[in-house]
Each structure stands twice: as structure tokens, then as C-alpha cells.
């Protein structure tokens, strides 16, 4: 074990703000990205479902636009 106490751990040999600043910002960014990605998926599903109700011709089982041949 490297640390004698928690306060030593948080202090990081005097470089606390720098080390924890790095980790905190990274954590926040990762959390934000996850949040936006998951929310985007929910919104997409909701939007498309609503769209299908409003403009039924847009998606029409049985006569849908076929995929372009790739």
C-alpha cells in the first residue's frame, strides 16, 4: 500500500489539484458522453415512432422503399 492515510491519498504529494483535476474532468466527460449517447438513442426511437404515426406513408410495411443494391 502506497498511502499512509486518506488525506495523503487526496493530497497526492502536493499535486492533488492536478491529478484529481485530470481524473475529474475525464470522469465528467465520459459520463456526459454516455449520457448523451443513451439519451440520443431514446430520442431517436421516440421521434421515429411519432413520425410514423404522423406520416404513415413514410414507413409502410408491405410497400416500403427497397434498399439500394450495394
Amino acid at each position: 500500500m502506497q498511502w499512509t492515510s486518506w488525506s495523503a491519498f487526496w493530497d497526492m504529494g502536493g499535486a492533488g489539484p492536478f491529478v484529481w483535476g485530470s481524473y475529474a474532468v475525464t470522469a465528467v466527460l465520459v459520463a456526459l458522453e454516455l449520457f448523451f449517447v443513451l439519451r440520443r438513442r431514446k430520442e431517436t426511437v421516440r421521434r421515429l415512432s411519432r413520425l410514423r404515426r404522423v406520416v404513415p406513408s413514410a414507413i409502410e410495411p408491405g410497400g416500403a422503399v427497397k434498399e439500394r443494391i450495394e
Binding site: 502506497q2 504529494g13 491529478v19 485530470s22 481524473y23 475525464t26 454516455l34 415512432s49 410514423r52
Partner: protein, 263 residues
């Protein structure tokens, strides 16, 4: 002489070339959905292990003290940001050559994550530089080219966001990704040369002479975690993209029905 009639769907023309099977968004969509959570959990596990080693096993650096512990995110993030750009350019090229829509979507799904890692490496590097070099920033070759890489990412994202028509934004983005990729090595070497021709910055990257093996293990674990995280996030993102692009097909309709039934 003309007939404006509608035609029925013929299922006979469906994909015959098996090589491109996975390139069909319809096929990839459920696969991505199934794999993403696994990668996410893998990333979390690797991250916990890496951080444990990084903070509680790896010894204090005899030169830098504790500050060096930034390395466990700094280096994986820097690596990841460079890899992701290469992968992005690869997908862009595949898309332009083979005209597979999924490739474009992959490229666009990767970009925000790449930009995020790029920013993280800059941010952590800057915070690391302050106590070790006494300044947040020097115009060192590696730092500078990382900054330019961030601009390349931002340009790609801004361009694809600014174009609403998805077909246009796919291809336009692919072109700028490729042009950027051709330039990345040029930028890298020119920046290096530029910096050595002038009197160099008064400080330069000094790495711990012999990295303790525990440090290395921690770093590698974190790098693997970053890989797994990238997979998870880009799979999730590409699923949204697929749904949007393919919203006029039958299978998306069925998928939406399923989602609604579940909700």
C-alpha cells in the same frame, strides 16, 4: 409509354454477396446492440483494475513524485485519440470505395469519442505539465500535433453536423477524414522538424527512465479499458445512426414496434 405504377416488394434481390453481409445495417444493428453492453462492462472492469493498480500498487516515481499518476489516463487517451482517427479514416475510405453506408455511419459514430479522448489527453497533459515543467503548455512537437488533431476532429464533426442531408454529410465527412488522414503524418513530421530547427522549447517530455512494471501494467489495463469503452460507445451511437438512416425500411418499422411494445 409510361406507367406510374407502384410495384410490390420482391425479396429475391436481397444481398447475394456474402462478404458484404455484415456491412448491411440491418444485420449489424442487432449485433451491435448485443455486444455493446458486454464491452461496457468489460471497460468498467478493466478500468477498476487499472486504477487499483495505478493508485495502490504502483510505486511513487522517484523523479516526479505522485504527479505521474496522471499517466494512467493521459497515455491511453493520447493513444486512443490517434488510433480512432486512423480507424475513422479507414471506414471513410471503405465507404467511398465500396459505397457501404454502414462504413460512413461507423466513421461518424467514432468521431465524438475520438475528439473526447483527444481533449482528455490535452487537458491531462496540460495539468501534468504545470507541476513538472512549470507551464501548462509549450509548443512542443508532440503537443502541437495533438492540438491539430483535435482541430481535425472538430472540423469533421462540425462539417457532418452542418450538413443535414445524410447522404451528403456522409460523403463530405469521408472526404475530409481522408484528406486529414493523408495530412496527419505530414503534420506530425513537419511539426517535429519545425520544433527542432528552432531552438527547442526549454523543457521537453521526459519519461521516467525505467518505468516500473506495475506502472506499465496499470497503463496497459487502462488502455484496454479505453478500447472497450470506445467499442461500447460507438456501437451504441451507430445504432441510433442506423435507425435514423434506415427509418424508411420495413425492418426499422418492425424494430420500432418492438420497442413500443416493450415500453
Amino acid at each position: 409509354m409510361m406507367n406510374g405504377t407502384e410495384t410490390e416488394t420482391e425479396d429475391g434481390t436481397k444481398r447475394s454477396r456474402s462478404l458484404l453481409r455484415f456491412a448491411a445495417p440491418q444485420v449489424f444493428y442487432p449485433i451491435a446492440g448485443r455486444l455493446a453492453p458486454w464491452f461496457a462492462w468489460l471497460a468498467a472492469g478493466l478500468c477498476v483494475a487499472g486504477l487499483w493498480i495505478g493508485f495502490f500498487v504502483a510505486p511513487t516515481d522517484f523523479q516526479q513524485g505522485e504527479v505521474y499518476r496522471v499517466i494512467f489516463i493521459h497515455v491511453p487517451a493520447a493513444w486512443m485519440s490517434m488510433f480512432i482517427y486512423l480507424i475513422m479514416a479507414f471506414w471513410a475510405a471503405v465507404g467511398l470505395v465500396m459505397n457501404t453506408r454502414l462504413s460512413f455511419m461507423m466513421a461518424q459514430a467514432l468521431a465524438p469519442t475520438g475528439a473526447m479522448f483527444c481533449f482528455v489527453s490535452l487537458w491531462t497533459g496540460a495539468l501534468w505539465g504545470r507541476p513538472t515543467w512549470g507551464t501548462y503548455w509549450v509548443w512542443d512537437a508532440r503537443l502541437t500535433s495533438q492540438l491539430l488533431l483535435l482541430f481535425l476532429y472538430l472540423g469533421f464533426i462540425a462539417l457532418t453536423q452542418a450538413i443535414e442531408d445524410s447522404r451528403r454529410s456522409d460523403r463530405a465527412g469521408a472526404i475530409i477524414a481522408l484528406v486529414g488522414a493523408v495530412n496527419v503524418p505530414i503534420i506530425y513530421f513537419s511539426v517535429q522538424w519545425w520544433n527542432t530547427l528552432h531552438q527547442g522549447a526549454s523543457v521537453s517530455l521526459t519519461r521516467a527512465p525505467s518505468m516500473a512494471s506495475t506502472m506499465l501494467v496499470g497503463m496497459l489495463l487502462m488502455a484496454l479499458a479505453a478500447w472497450a469503452y470506445t467499442f461500447a460507445v460507438s456501437f451504441w451511437r451507430v445504432r441510433s445512426l442506423i435507425l435514423e438512416r434506415e427509418r424508411h425500411t420495413e425492418w426499422v418499422a418492425a424494430e420500432l414496434d418492438e420497442q413500443e411494445a416493450r415500453a
